[in-house]
Symmetry: none
Subunit: 231 residues, 2 copies
DNA sequence: GCTTTTCTTAACGGAATCTTAATGCCGGAG
DNA sequence: CTCCGGCATTAAGATTCCGTTAAGAAAAGC
């Protein structure tokens, strides 16, 4: 195995120190950042193999960090938080976290859970080239900053529109079924109608369409779902 | 998404019942076994997508179950145990467990951690995904993206046409009876006429036929059914 | 608290698709 | 040769599916 890079996101210096020391002893390579924005940008630039993430950050909420990173990356995320309410755990896990440790935590257990992540990594096919910027024709998405632009002009998308666009872009060329899109956007719990999805597709298409006489970026597969065309 | 089968390994009937009920409500399909030997054999025979494993079993130690299963399978394992010593957790995780919940545990948290496993599953290469492209003469089907093309040009197929084409392609060379095709496309419940099938075969053939003087891709077996020819 | 944005739901016209029916073709049996 | 069963093909009605608009509800920002 090459090297395993861990990004520690923790504003409490003493805990940050505790974790760093443990990782150093076990010969992991790691980086420290102290707030959410740094976490996202470092994650983008350094492409770590694992995130150790505190939820209580000074700037952004940790949950938001998870959601943002998950728009373009499947990097394992272990949450380390002082909040021990069930609702917090569930929200973090459903937002995309892989594991959740409650402070005070056992360093040995943390290390064991890191090893679990490493072990799973082995079975993954190819370390997919996860880029944080997506480009397709005139469309350009910057997953890290959460923005999209068309022909250089920034698009003003609502959160849901943006999510749908991300989902389609991450699966360019593939046909995504209605139910797949809905469960990915609204979560497994909620049952939203297909009708809502259609409304969003309309407004998305309206915003994506700069000129006529062009092949539409998003194609409808009648009876199945939608598909972004690779231009 | 197909179905997600969970194997519950728990000798305490009350807890087993608690878990079963939660899974049933959330429409998972699951199996119950009550000791380690059954766990291992059922795991082999039924190939579940997830193991919920209690460590305190009457016959074998749970850790041994993990190690045994791990000799041939990477199926996700979530341990649910009364032991809350660090050493127990670490041993279980290092033996191959993916997660560790301590009794008493929150059912909601358990469900969230199951969803985490499911989410990760999506990114893994499934057996069918590996051979997801079918080619035969000028015809090419990409099962993953749900598209088919003829001579490089994409085919516009209706859902039923596409289903029929997939069915035939997955059984190239074989003769499929009318009733087999009908039950596979429309399900055993609906009684659709053979006449409808003929109409679809016509439109399918029309779309598949690029030039004359060629051997037709789909051959009629009078009185029996249809067959895709391997070119 | 008020304004603005975003989300959701309902309604409707139109398009794509499914199904059924009618017609003609072909080969074998009488 | 003629009849008949199985099949292909076409057309047309029925049905489902989609896109769009508008309006009220909810949420976010000020």
């Amino acid at each position: 195995m090459p090297e395993f890079k861990i990004l520690i996101v923790e504003d409490d210096r003493s805990i940050q120190n505790l974790i760093s020391t443990a990782l150093k002893i076990n010969q992991y390579s790691f980086l420290n950042v102290y707030n959410g924005k740094e976490a996202i940008s470092t994650c983008m630039s350094h492409k770590p193999d694992l995130l150790l993430l505190d939820l209580g950050l000074p700037d952004i909420d940790g949950i938001e960090v998870i959601r943002t990173v998950r728009t373009w990356s499947n990097v394992p995320i272990i949450v380390i938080s002082a909040r021990d309410e069930d609702s917090d755990k569930i929200e973090a896990l459903d937002s995309g976290a892989d594991d959740y440790l409650t402070k005070p935590f056992s360093v040995q257990e943390m290390l064991a859970r890191i090893r679990t992540v490493q072990r799973r990594q082995q079975y993954l096919p190819s370390p997919e080239q996860e880029k944080s910027v997506f480009e397709n024709g005139k469309l350009k998405i910057d997953y890290a900053s959460g923005t999209a632009e068309l022909d250089g002009a920034e698009l003003h998308l609502t959160p849901i529109e943006y999510k749908i666009l991300c989902l389609l872009s991450r699966n360019v060329g593939k046909v995504l079924t209605h139910s797949f899109i809905i469960s990915n956007i609204w979560g497994n719990a909620v049952d939203t109608d297909i009708v809502s999805l259609r409304v969003y597709m309309t407004s998305l298409r309206k915003k994506l369409k700069c000129s006529e006489e062009e092949e539409p970026l998003i194609r409808t597969r009648v009876g199945i779902g939608y598909q972004m065309i690779r231009l």
